[in-house]
Symmetry: C2
Subunit: 486 residues, 2 copies
């Protein structure tokens, strides 16, 4: 076992503390995995050339803090369940401390090393209501394969660097047409910059527009992955509460004057599923125009709306270049494609194009061409239509089962759109107890509380349904109800 521990004899930290730090860091960063066995104190002491007492001291502290557990007669292991809080709160050991030559970090590097995060632990249960994935088994792989092959028939010019800072022009044209039709977004292909998904879009925005200490408003609860980017840049976050009509814009209007950016998910607020009402949309746009703030419209899941007509995008209602629109193909096609896009106010286009080029030049060319074909030959919209009715059936099944099993002992949120809904269970059980009982019944459940800026149990759970079948949904909810008996 190759434990990445490097001791620094010049450090003022005692050795047992350095060993403790290195192991804790390895656990928190996922280099040591839950249930992984650690070397014996004797063998680690030998390999580090330090006393066994020193290693024992470090192990004892990690055991007492719940990072490690001993199994009698077998050895010391990384704890199977590292509490969620630990994965967020504590500082990573700085690379400076463990390196033979001390490595200094930028402020960005320091912030990342002080607030590390683990890949979000997802329930690995026979029936998991995890969210964030489409029904990948319905992806039209044969079509995709055919389009891929078509571009690989001969030696092709797409092997070379792209000549376009903003991404493949025919793809930007196809996206502009699609967004105009489907989302009432007003844009010219010249306003589009292709990105490696929403994540890079957000990262570019914050890099270019926000300095540490500047103020950014965001929905609370809101999308955790976006919040991590904002925090990594040292931005001050202003949480704005959310109700059944989405972001409570009046809180924004009355309280804060210095806000530079507002991050919103108007089509399907994450995780509550609320749709931002039209009056609030207009109020938000007016506020942005007045204050000079920019609105980041993350239009995820806008394709999936059941029953009523989709609300046009904020971007299309804006007449003052106050909106940056963010879209992705991760949910309508597949996440590993890594193609998303920004629709920018015109004055920002040249700047973002340069930043994208400096960051990583361009997206892979083959995917851009295949996706262009997929859109222009009508496959995208027909796939979305097909999936919309598929998801609608699943959603109805889930709502039906939940009502049947929990009746008025729960409240449903955001069931009119998207690929998940949120449920508040009226119970005295803690979130952890609920997750645990569900898990022991073979049901994976994700609490909503990590999406809130302030921690604490809320009895709220996100039910993703896109990956399941109607039968699995029924079995899952039945089992859940039995295990909770509320």
């Amino acid at each position: 076992m190759d434990l990445p521990i490097v001791l620094n004899p010049q450090s003022t930290l005692p050795l047992h503390h350095q060993v403790y730090d290195a192991l804790r860091c390895a656990i928190l960063s996922g280099r040591l995995l839950p249930r992984q066995r650690l070397p014996s104190t004797r063998s680690l002491a030998n390999s580090l050339n330090i006393s066994r007492t020193t290693v024992t001291q470090s192990y004892d502290r990690l055991l007492s803090e719940g990072y490690l557990e001993t199994i009698v007669g077998s050895g010391t292991y990384v704890c199977a369940q590292i509490p969620d809080d630990l994965l967020h709160a504590p500082a990573l050991e700085s690379p400076a401390a463990s390196s033979p030559t001390p490595i200094q970090l930028s402020q960005y590097g320091q912030r990342l090393s002080q607030t590390p995060f683990a890949l979000q632990a997802e329930p690995k249960a026979p029936i998991s209501f995890r969210y964030g994935r489409p029904a990948l088994q319905h992806f039209p792989m044969q079509v995709w394969r055919r389009l891929l092959a078509r571009h690989c028939e001969h030696t092709a010019d797409w092997l070379d660097y792209a000549i376009d800072f903003q991404g493949y022009l025919p793809l930007r044209q196809a996206i502009a047409h699609y967004l105009g039709r489907a989302r009432a977004v007003q844009c010219h292909p010249d306003q589009i910059i292709l990105t490696n998904g929403t994540q890079q879009a957000l990262d570019l925005i914050v890099r270019l527009l926000m300095a540490p200490g500047m103020e950014l408003a965001l929905e609370d609860p809101g999308y955790l992955s976006a919040r991590r980017i904002f925090l990594s840049h040292g931005v001050n976050l202003f949480p704005i509460p959310v109700d059944m009509s989405g972001l409570m814009v009046e809180k924004l209007v009355h309280h804060f004057a210095q806000i530079r950016l507002v991050y919103v998910t108007p089509s399907h607020q994450f995780p509550t599923g609320a749709t931002l009402s039209l009056p609030r949309r207009l109020e938000l746009l007016a506020w942005a125009q007045q204050t000079g703030a920019l609105i980041l419209e993350d239009d995820y899941d806008s394709e999936y709306r059941y029953g009523d007509r989709p609300m046009p995008a904020l971007q299309g209602l804006d007449s003052h270049q106050s909106v940056i629109y963010i879209g992705t193909f991760s949910k309508v096609l597949f996440p590993a494609l890594r193609i998303g896009y920004l629709v920018l106010p015109k004055p920002l286009v040249a700047l973002f194009a340069q930043a994208k080029w400096l960051s990583d030049r361009q997206l892979p060319s083959l995917e851009q061409r295949v996706l262009t074909d997929f859109i222009t030959t009508g496959h995208l919209e027909s796939h979305i239509r097909k999936m919309r009715s598929h998801y609608d059936r699943l959603r109805q099944a889930l709502v039906h089962c939940l009502k049947q099993q929990f009746g008025d002992r729960m409240t449903l949120f955001g069931e009119k759109a998207g690929l998940h809904l949120m449920v508040k269970l009226h119970t005295s059980l803690s979130d952890a107890e609920i997750v645990e009982r569900a898990a022991s019944a073979g049901v994976g459940l994700m609490p909503a509380h990590p999406q809130y800026l302030t921690p604490g149990d809320r009895g709220e759970f996100i039910f993703g349904y896109a990956e399941l079948s109607a039968e699995q949904i029924q079995i899952g909810i039945d089992r859940l109800a039995k295990s909770l008996s509320i």
Copy 2:
């Protein structure tokens, strides 16, 4: 015509200056293209709702500065040839000035908007000695296509998000084996982070390790695209001269104590082609160990070495975790693949993995799988072998033709490796005259001077040969010699 001009009545800049700025910015950033026609002064004045005199004043200034030209009886056009200097020097109009709501930028954003760059103008000549591209027509497309198809036979798990922060593990394993064998790099797959090419690798390094005002040493002349990243982060650059044995390490040792990073291309210095000698490698490593500086080893073109044995990578000689090794598949396979990698000192791995995940999560999964197959089934190394002898033949043809035509009126640099060589022509002609004469003879030529930190003619030219045939090389050099008659 949709000219992106927005005037700001609150600005202290007079209107004609604002119009001038907006047009100049549009030209420099490529939104207005050479030979593109501008609207008449009357129609622009109407559409902006300002006086025609104001527009005329702006046009006159742009005409006098060589941005515009008039064609009698036809109108006003963007000049066909914008001098190269202009594309580098002047500040972009800040988005703040042209937006209805003034947009503030981060420091990074400000630096980018103050030092914009254009996509490097490449000679579009019948025979172009441009550099930076492999012989794409020899890429084994049929193999690639077969591997792509294999992964698209059924619905596949690679459609989903990757579960690995650092990139697809089997690919990292394949790269680690390859680097160990071919480059004597000492690394475990856990030290590798996959990136979207060298560009993203450099960007992540500077983001995490350098703050504005910190000091970075680099080769002069050196790789322009790397320099642009360093400058965008506000880093202070310390140019270190280069001779026939590469970076003159003694200059580094004697003069600077505060340097945090040194960026080097030891296998094939860009653009001179020098190989960093073994004594200098050892001196550089000792210096880094002493000062705590990190070495960025950009090992581009290391695969192509003709005649003598390749020098092992700096990284493999290092025993103090002082080297970050950067590699890419852009030159051995194709640029639009966008797969490169970092080999990191262990204490930095967790931090870089988090930064990569925050920046854009992961690389597209299909490419990672196809590339893994391509390496593990031996195609990569057989392709490199085949291309090495192909490029060797081209290189010999080029050297032969140059010697025949120019004899001792030129000096050759770096012809033992890589996909280009550098030629210093002993002539009183300016670089621009040489480029122009070559172009009029149908030969595209790229001067080396943009790779230097200080501008000025040097009579040095970079001759890329990978994309040409031996016949084209001979015709090209013949024509060049005739057109120059030196």
